[in-house]
Symmetry: C2
């Protein structure tokens, strides 16, 4: 193989509100040569995740923004093409953070070698990767589900939400899943086996949620914000826990909603119901990674955790797929098949 | 002693916003006779605390509201007059929950006998009582101060705030205290020994707070809400903890403030800075009471925790004192000397 040219997608400009295709730029790259301790990678799968919307903006967040004209960041599964490090050989498949491009150089010590015999390598970007670990660590450490408690999770056919709901069921909780549209609702019911499965687009959603939570809500795993938060908040029980993992419904907002300012009402309820609201990023819980990999592999093997992938073909289609992700158009873990 | 008549203060009507004297009614009571296992108490001190504002309203909170025409609830220190239980004798001083009245019947098993040799009995309503325990449990369990961290606390000459600040200093944190007015500010500086002492009425307060927290804020012990919350929130560090103990600045509010609705901005910061916001009531941590009593007695004896009482004479003056409490007019733990 003597490829000398590849492709990448750079951030062309920062979006105002909803990203559009013009914020991205597909451009050729020269394939570089690895130095000592480095490898040349060919990207097989690129993971598209909601957090990337934050990286496109200049606002302060938990990670620095992508610079304009720089390659978009992202987790990837890649094949080693050339290796200048004894730990990896051509043909090895690795987990890397190579971004939105077909080829990349990486230090071998920053890569995790994957065993294609153990699980499909794409799962290293989903249920066995960052989204799965986000669900595991946030739910178990902050949510702390107990048998008989009620958990609500939205975006519940996505890689985080679906995993949260299934782990909560393993721990004995009653799970109310929320997703957009009848097809996703049916998938929750038939495949994920949640106790109640709701479509947030249903005009009766607020009443349906209340009816689905006759004993209130003990854990709300927050990954969407917006109207779902508004519907869940009044149902939270005393000592309820709210791990805040994402707020996809508000990532494209360009201004705050109209008043009144509900801050005092939220704080009043935090006080009178002894609520815990706790934001987190999975990296905080990195010491739990070995336990996660052991538990999750077992649960997948036993059929207790199911997962679904939504695979888009071709790097050039990544921008459109990502824009759709922010609107809930994906159905399962969104991946781009790059090579 | 053959008193046959006493006095009580009943809730005459529910306040709209700020309570006024007409919401209370001073009225005579017949002094009842204790039954088996009961004692007759003469109240010495009545504790006035912000939580009582919640009891005056019908809205759902962590405890049931006081019924209209019923006696106002409250913690008290009282003397046993007549005892029908072998565990208590006339003359004993006890901690009770007798409410806003001069005399009350109580089951002996619900009372805690106090030793006047160990500490002034009034402290059982303050630094060695519910407010002190609120500070101790909320700060240590939720706030978790570490050496070198910065803690901010408002109402910092009150029984909760002053104790929070002093315990945080014992644990090695840097303490920024906030109170209203120069006299309280000086008391924090000269007596409580906080590292920075601010007056929230100063027109430059927001800038002063920022200057007083050059390394941001790791713990904000929330007992006021309102403008202080607005000033502290932007300064919270990654992994900051916010024990929510009270919101006195908003207890008299009758409507939400004008917009925009800042809820999404709060949640965004909870997420991007991995904040913990956790409401609590001290009763949740009741198992820590023995440790609290041991630690706090030691700290008071060693001069590491100072306390200040603001004692109003006469039950008839309780309403006015309570109305003033909600506006920060007290200076130290507010008590009514009843007998």
């Amino acid at each position: 193989m003597t490829e000398t040219r590849g492709l990448r997608i750079a951030l062309a400009s920062r979006p105002e509100g909803r990203p559009n295709p013009g914020n991205f730029r597909l451009e050729p790259i020269e394939i570089p040569q690895p130095g000592a301790g480095e490898v040349l990678l060919r990207v097989l799968y690129l993971s598209l995740d909601p957090y990337m919307r934050g990286r496109m903006s200049a606002a302060k967040s938990y990670a620095a923004p992508v610079e304009v004209d720089a390659v978009m960041e992202g987790g990837t599964v890649a094949e080693v093409i050339t290796s200048n490090d004894p730990s990896l050989a051509p043909g090895d498949i690795v987990l890397s953070f190579s971004g939105w491009q077909t080829h990349a150089i990486a230090k071998a010590k920053h890569l995790t070698k994957l065993d294609p015999q153990l699980a499909p390598v794409s799962t290293a970007l989903g249920v066995l990767g960052m989204p799965g670990f986000t669900a595991y660590a946030g739910l178990l450490t902050i949510g702390q589900p107990k048998p008989g408690e009620t958990l609500v999770v939205a975006a519940a056919t996505g890689p985080v939400g679906a995993t949260v709901g299934q782990i909560a069921r393993i721990k004995g909780a009653r799970v109310v899943g929320i997703a957009g549209g009848e097809e996703k609702r049916r998938y929750m019911q038939e495949t994920l086996g949640f106790d109640a499965c709701l479509d947030h687009r249903d005009p009766e959603f607020v009443a349906q949620l209340k009816a689905a939570c006759p004993n209130g809500v003990d854990i709300y795993f927050e990954n969407v914000g917006g109207a779902v938060w508004d519907a869940v908040f009044p149902l939270l029980n005393t000592y309820a826990r709210v791990p805040v993992c994402g707020l996809i419904a508000q990532y494209n907002a360009t201004s705050l909603p109209a008043g009144p300012d509900r801050t005092p009402a939220i704080m009043r309820n935090v006080l009178t119901r002894s609520l815990t609201i706790r934001g987190f990023i999975q990296s905080e819980f990195i010491s739990q990674r070995p336990a996660f990999l052991a538990d999750m592999s077992t649960w997948i093997r036993e059929g207790k955790v199911r997962y679904r992938e939504d695979i888009v073909d071709g790097l050039e289609n990544a921008p459109e797929a990502f824009i759709g992700l922010l609107e809930g158009k994906n159905f399962g873990k969104l991946l781009v098949k790059v090579a």
